[in-house]
């Protein structure tokens, strides 16, 4: 984290704000039309976990901190807070000052009064993650971090009622605009959690007024508010007229695109786009046709169809380039991987791929060496992904672009390795376990056409080393349930950054996170020790050295097959300006504009 530039960005934003204060700029004539490929689940920040609802939540609710639009790697800047938090106690205490004069959008729950945003709202919103009635899938963000909060949650699980008025030692509100958070351990990644889109502030009156229906009544202080909502079909947002506003004044980086955007956008009051109209369209083909006919303004969910509009080298095909259509291209901050269940037993059945003996490691290593990653990238992804060498993807603090995995694609060595450890081939061409028992790998996936392609690839890969594969099909939520109990043997998984910090990825392999995010149920004392050291360290070469060691340790035990990170190819109509994909923010609606003489 570079503190100096953080501060200067904050100051310049503040100056710009005072200069332009009062001029309301969002243009109601400008309507941005976008699509979701999956239906939203709802707009209550503590009750959802999906990426799509997250985009709307990010637009409606205000976090204390957010990210600079152009700075790479992602850089924290204050949002509803006056400035970046004051850090004391070696990263154990964070003090936030909430900006004065921010008001919630009017709602009947406020009984006609204007309701100001206060520090208490943020404390309340964090507490809600621990209320058992909310069943939050993202409690882990705050779990084990804030002094006294886990205890309150445990008590609520016992009594069935969460006491919001109880004092929590770690969530201190000394005055109306000050929030002081005390952590159990030093954690330099904590501000990223505060900037995460589910950490926005809700008003207690609203939550209590709508009871179980809070998902359909988001009331926040962010740049947009919900105007019209038809479940699983259409979501229309309009610019929040009471939004405190901000002025486009970001420092362009080395990227030529930055300078172009800065020239077009500098000094504009944000948000400029007056309405955002989101249609749910599940079929790739429909989304493509809608964009092609000019019925949507931006579209990125077109992976299977990318060869129709772009060449392999990442350029738009000439017929679209001629029409002025623009392409924004970036690698998503995600990794995909296939994990092995590392436990000795699954339920009461022996697990052929689990365990830490040399012959088990050899089996996993051989499978990892046989997985045809290049085929996945070339044939399934149509060239629209890059091979993942490191558990932390590009654009995330801690990523090492020079790191090379020690497990290359090498089926020949894989076969030799299996021969060496006594996995002998039977008459049918498939191998048995060293003790002569049959060897069968069970790979779990969902019943969809896309999943079938991965099943086929896994089957082809394992056939090349003579290992028999069985496919287990189940619905996604059921698979996740089994996975959380370590009941799956093998599955392909993907993780996209919640925060731009490497810790968000390394925690996936941390032993105590078994039954949560550690889906391989991997427990290595060596890894865990390194991880615990890394957690108490700020981003820097020291921590990166630990991350490299952790990665080598992971490779030595091979709980994962590292696969790839996808490109995000955002298509834009010619009149859309100011867009650059942010590595952490879910959407950029408030930062973009339409060209003045846009044909609509």
């Amino acid at each position: 984290m570079n503190r100096r530039s953080l501060g200067s960005a904050a100051v310049s934003a503040l100056i710009a704000l005072t200069l332009h204060a009062g001029s309301h700029a969002a243009d109601p004539a400008k309507t941005l039309r976008v699509t979701f490929q999956v239906a939203e689940t709802g707009f209550d920040p503590t009750r959802t976990s999906d990426y799509y609802s997250g985009q709307v939540i990010e637009a409606i609710f205000d976090r204390l901190l957010t990210y600079d639009y152009l700075a790479r790697p992602a850089k924290l800047v204050p949002s509803a807070a006056e400035s970046l938090p004051q850090v004391t106690d070696n990263g154990k205490t964070y003090t936030f000052k909430v900006r004065k004069g921010i008001y919630f959008t009017p709602d009947p729950a406020f009984k006609g009064k204007r309701r100001e945003l206060t520090a208490e709202d943020y404390a309340y919103s964090i507490k809600r993650f621990f209320d058992p009635r909310n069943r939050s899938p993202y409690t882990f963000l705050y779990e084990g971090k804030i002094v006294g909060l886990d205890e309150l949650g445990a008590q609520a699980r016992k009594t069935g009622r969460f006491d919001y008025d109880a004092k929590v030692a770690g969530l201190e509100v000394p005055d109306r605009y000050t929030l002081r958070i005390h952590l159990r351990e030093p954690d330099y990644g904590f501000p990223h959690i505060i900037a995460f889109d589910l950490s926005g502030a809700v008003a207690r009156e609203v939550i209590e007024a709508y009871g179980e229906d809070t998902s359909a009544h988001p009331v926040g202080t962010g740049p947009y508010r919900l105007k019209q909502y038809t479940r699983s079909s259409k979501i229309i947002l309009e610019a929040n007229p009471d939004y405190r506003g901000m002025v486009w004044d970001f420092q362009p980086g080395d990227d030529p695109l930055d300078r172009e955007i800065a020239a077009q956008m500098k000094g504009k009051k944000l948000p400029v786009i007056g309405n955002v109209e989101i249609s749910i369209m599940e079929e790739t083909q429909s989304r493509w046709l809608a964009f092609e006919k000019g019925e949507t303004d931006m579209e990125y969910q077109l992976w299977d169809l990318s060869p129709t509009f772009m060449a392999e080298d990442g350029r738009l095909r000439p017929q679209f380039a001629k029409r002025g259509i623009k392409l924004g291209r970036s690698v998503d901050p995600e990794i995909t991987y296939a994990y092995f269940n590392m436990l000795d037993k699954i339920g009461d059945q022996p697990n052929p791929v689990g365990g830490y003996s040399r012959e088990k490691i050899a089996l996993r290593r051989a499978i990892a060496m046989a997985y045809k990653v290049d085929d996945q990238i070339r044939i399934i992804r149509k060239g629209q992904s890059i091979k993942a060498e490191y558990p932390i993807p590009p654009g995330i603090a801690g990523h090492d672009p020079n790191y090379r995995s020690s497990i290359p694609y090498d089926p020949k060595t894989a076969n030799a390795l299996l021969d060496r450890f006594g996995y002998r081939k039977g008459t049918d061409g498939y191998r048995t376990l060293p003790d002569g028992k049959p060897l069968l790998i069970r790979y779990s996936s969902t019943p969809s056409e896309v999943a079938r392609q991965f099943d086929e690839l896994m089957k082809r890969s394992l056939d090349s080393i003579g290992i028999r594969l069985e496919i287990h099909k189940d619905r996604f939520p059921d698979l996740i349930k089994l996975e959380r109990r370590c009941r799956l043997m093998m599955r392909g998984a993907a993780w996209i950054a919640d925060t731009p910090d490497g810790d968000n990825f390394m925690q996936l392999l941390y032993g105590p996170n078994t039954f949560q995010s550690n889906n391989a149920c991997y427990k290595s004392p060596a890894f865990d020790k390194l991880y615990e050291q890394s957690r108490a360290m700020p981003d820097g070469p020291e921590r990166n050295r630990l991350y490299r060691q952790m990665t080598r340790q992971m490779e030595a035990d091979t709980p994962w097959i590292m696969i790839d990170s996808r490109y995000r190819n955002v298509l834009m109509q010619p009149y859309v300006i100011g867009f650059k994909k942010h590595p952490v923010l879910h959407q950029e609606w408030m930062y973009i504009d339409f060209e003045p003489k846009a044909k609509r």
Binding site: G314, R315, I386, A416, Q549
Partner: protein
């Protein structure tokens, strides 16, 4: 009716039917086509042809020979190799990859940097030995640029895939129809013959099955079996498809059980089972045959739908349904051959089987003498 002068034995139902069928030209052609498919299925099953369908012989999405190789396919093959991205200013498309520099750096592969880590690989010694022994000679297999009827995305021959798919789809159709006919006939016979509470019971059972929309029923049985594979598909289709046959057979048995010949059989002491299956059954068997072939067609189509919905055959099997499902996105990218092959094979068999069933019904219907 005139008195017969000769006392030659009168021909039976099947002989008469065969005579009538012989004059039905459309029926005969259809019969030949169906026989051809059955032969194909048998040959594929015994491994005479298409046993190596899973081998990857062509490049990814190799086009059919008659259209010639794809120009871009050579480039596609090398897409994984590192190549520096050029910024050609004369080109119309101005969208320059902002990550070009970073990517070029990422792609330029370097040996693993092991210097800064003291992590010990437990397999280091074995791997070093294996690598030292085998060297790094990686013989790249040559792949054809085109295949007779094109290749799928992994480069498998679509023609062989279609033959293998024919085996699966026809086997599923025939086996599921046999299962459905068996269930329908036994239930129908019991219900129609005994009547009373047995009839009520089967009717109730039948109503429960038919009150659920067909596709929902299929999906719910698929969810209960919760397993994928050819056997599952056969069970799903067989267990849901017996209801129509049941209705017809039940009606036939109700009609026949009061006929004189059945009463005569009763009089000479034939048991219920004997009366049902030795005396009555031959007289209703033509109904079963026609229903059987109708259901074969229906189930071949249903298998396609099931596979299309993701409930079909497993990953190591290929069927027409799974081919069509794969072809969905391929088609949008201009790779039409897999879709064409599977559709053509299916259309031919289903049409031929349909016409054959018609011909059989005409031939077997005693009223059409």
């Amino acid at each position: 009716m005139t008195t017969a002068t000769s006392h030659a034995e009168s021909p039976g139902l099947w002989v008469l039917a065969w005579r009538r069928f012989r004059h039905d030209r459309v029926g005969l052609v259809s019969f030949d086509i169906v026989l051809f498919f059955v032969a194909l299925m048998a040959a594929s099953w015994t491994g005479l042809i298409a046993s190596d369908w899973a081998r990857e012989v062509g490049v990814s999405n190799a086009p059919p020979t008659f259209t010639g190789p794809k120009v871009a396919s050579a480039r596609l093959e090398h897409a994984a190799a590192p190549e520096p991205l050029r910024r050609d200013k004369s080109d119309e498309s101005a969208a320059v990859d902002p990550l070009a520099g970073v990517l070029a750096e990422i792609r330029a592969s370097r040996p693993p940097a092991a210097a800064d880590t003291e992590i010990v690989d437990p397999l280091a010694d074995v791997l070093a030995e294996i690598r030292g022994r085998s060297g790094s000679a990686s013989a790249d297999e040559t792949r054809a640029a085109t295949l007779i009827f094109g290749g799928d995305k992994w480069g498998r021959d679509v023609l062989k895939k279609t033959i293998k798919g024919t085996e699966t789809s026809m086997f599923v159709g025939l086996a599921a129809a046999a299962l459905a006919a068996l269930l329908g006939t036994v239930f129908g016979a019991l219900a129609g013959y005994y009547g009373r509470w047995i009839d009520d019971f089967f009717n109730w059972f039948y109503s429960v099955f038919t009150s659920i929309p067909y596709l929902l029923l299929i999906l719910s049985i698929a969810a209960v079996l919760n397993q994928k594979g050819t056997m599952t598909v056969i069970l799903i289709l067989g267990l849901t498809g017996w209801t129509g046959i049941f209705r017809l057979i039940r009606a036939e048995y109700m009609k026949h059980k009061v006929r004189e010949y059945v009463q005569a059989a009763d009089a000479i002491g034939a048991s219920h089972m004997r009366r049902m299956f030795v005396h009555i059954f031959p007289n209703v068997s033509h109904v079963v045959l026609v229903q059987l072939s109708l259901h074969v067609v229906l189930f071949i189509k249903s298998e396609v739908v099931l596979s299309f919905l993701g409930f079909g055959v497993g990953v190591d099997t290929v069927s027409w349904g799974s081919m069509l499902n794969e072809a969905q996105t391929e088609l949008l990218l201009g790779n039409w051959w897999q879709l064409a092959a599977a559709t053509a094979a299916m259309a031919m068999l289903v049409t031929a089987f349909g016409l054959l069933t018609d011909a059989w019904r005409d031939a077997l219907d005693p009223k059409l003498k």
